[in-house]
């Protein structure tokens, strides 16, 4: 579904992604871990077609939507309008399918997105991405700045969509515990390179990964 080969992305002279190769199969839930500045968001933006690759190939086998880092809503517009604009590509302007999925959004429909809480904003960003009826979803920092129960709720929705609709998910996270709970496979990105990849179970047992991302051995 997502197939990245030898991807190089640079900003001027600085190289943000250095020969990254990564695949996410159809219906798979894959995590991408890494510290700040590793190039995770650059990869997310490149997958969404917002940054051109310097070399290498990115092929996407279907409709892909991005939930960008920091929500990135339209703060001056209402929730309903934010959702409607999410359907810009797909032509779907009626948000009711998303209201069925996330009923809380129907209650917030008339509110301005800028005044919502972080969790509510993340839910709007989630709903807005779903408006494009994606087959693959790239989620950049789902848990950042959110309370654990809010994160768990959103993660449950992702898992549900994956199970029922076969939604492909690339979860870009700093919170490895959440990633390992949700995904089977993971990649670790550091300084623009993929340093480790494998099954989450193996990675969680890897002492280097455990000390870097789980704050010590997994319990």
């Amino acid at each position: 579904m997502i197939d990245v080969r030898d991807l190089v992305v640079s900003y001027g002279t600085a190289t943000a992604l250095d020969h990254v190769t990564l695949t996410v199969g159809r219906g798979e839930l894959v995590a991408l871990l890494g510290p700040n500045g590793a190039g995770k968001s650059t990869l997310a933006n490149t997958l969404a077609g917002l940054i051109p690759p310097a070399s290498g190939t990115v092929s996407i086998g279907g409709r892909l939507a991005l939930i960008p880092e920091g929500r990135q809503l339209f703060p001056d517009l209402t929730v309903a309008d934010n959702l409607a604009l999410g359907g810009w590509r797909s032509g779907q302007r009626d948000p009711s399918p998303v209201y069925d999925l996330l009923p809380r959004l129907a209650e917030l429909a008339g509110r301005r997105a800028g005044v919502l809480s972080g969790g509510e904003q993340q839910m709007v960003a989630f709903g807005r991405a779903m408006m494009s009826r994606p087959e693959a979803l790239v989620v950049d920092e789902l848990s950042l700045g959110l309370a654990p129960n809010v994160t768990a709720d959103l993660a449950a929705h992702l898992a549900e969509l994956n199970r029922t609709q076969g939604l492909t998910v690339l979860l870009i996270e700093q919170n490895a515990r959440l990633a390992f709970d949700l995904c089977r496979r993971a990649y670790v990105l550091e300084s623009g390179r993929v340093v480790t990849e494998g099954d989450c179970a193996d990675l969680a047992g890897d002492p280097r990964v455990a000390s870097a991302y789980l704050g010590g051995a997994i319990t």
């Binding site: 990135q72 809503l73 001056d76 517009l77 604009l85 302007r93």
Partner: protein, 286 residues
Amino acid sequence: MSAFLTYLLNGLAVGCAIALIASGLVVIHRVTGVVNFAQGTFAVVAGLCTSSLLGMGLPHGLSEVAAALVAALAGLLTGLAAIGRRGTTALSALIITLGVGVLAYAVEIMLWGDQPRSAPGLAGSVIVAGARIQTQHLLVIGVTAATFVLLALFFGRTYLGKALTACASNPYAARVVGIDIRLMGLLAFALGGLLGGLAGVLVTPLRPISFDTDVTLIVNGFAAAVFGALTRPVITLAGALLLGVAETMAAGYGYGSHQLEIALGLMIVVMIVQAGRRSAITQEST
């Protein structure tokens, strides 16, 4: 009293024309971040076109609409020069629109000469509460009011209008959902051209227009737009009406020779006060 009312209504008409120019500036600036120096040019182009089209025997209405559409096309071309090339900064774009304004001088002089031209508008006048007001003034006020209502509906109610607002609100997010922000920027320039053209069409019957009238129009329009920090249409409208009334009153009560200084001085003061407030906010937030 009736003199006061006459000045007030005339001033409102002048303010409405300024408001149309200013609203074009605001639309373009909101969506693209560019201050369009050629905004006055659109009005001049439309005004000169109207006088020619009417002179060629085209009927009223058709001539004015065609002239405004020519201005919209001029807006689109200006946009192509200003934001068509990737990586043009907002300040470079301002200098480019300055260049477009000067280029328009060359074209306008070639097509219409360098003498002011006028166009017939609505003839006659009506008495409103004891004050005589030209029908054309009423037309200006009416068309401006309708335009602002339509603009509000367009930006607040239509999908395309919301997409334009989205570009202004968060350009990155607009790209995330797949909106082509450069295309939206060009649309904003065309809309700005249309609004400027509308101003030109309405004003030409009131005061003759020549190729270099654009400087007066743009500084007045910018002064009004500055009231609304170049982003808020309603405050811009209020600022434009205030400016129009103040200038007309100044002229009416014998200070006419100083009306430009009053308007420009006011604009500078507003900008400096706003700059002071902005820097206070940034200092607090850091």
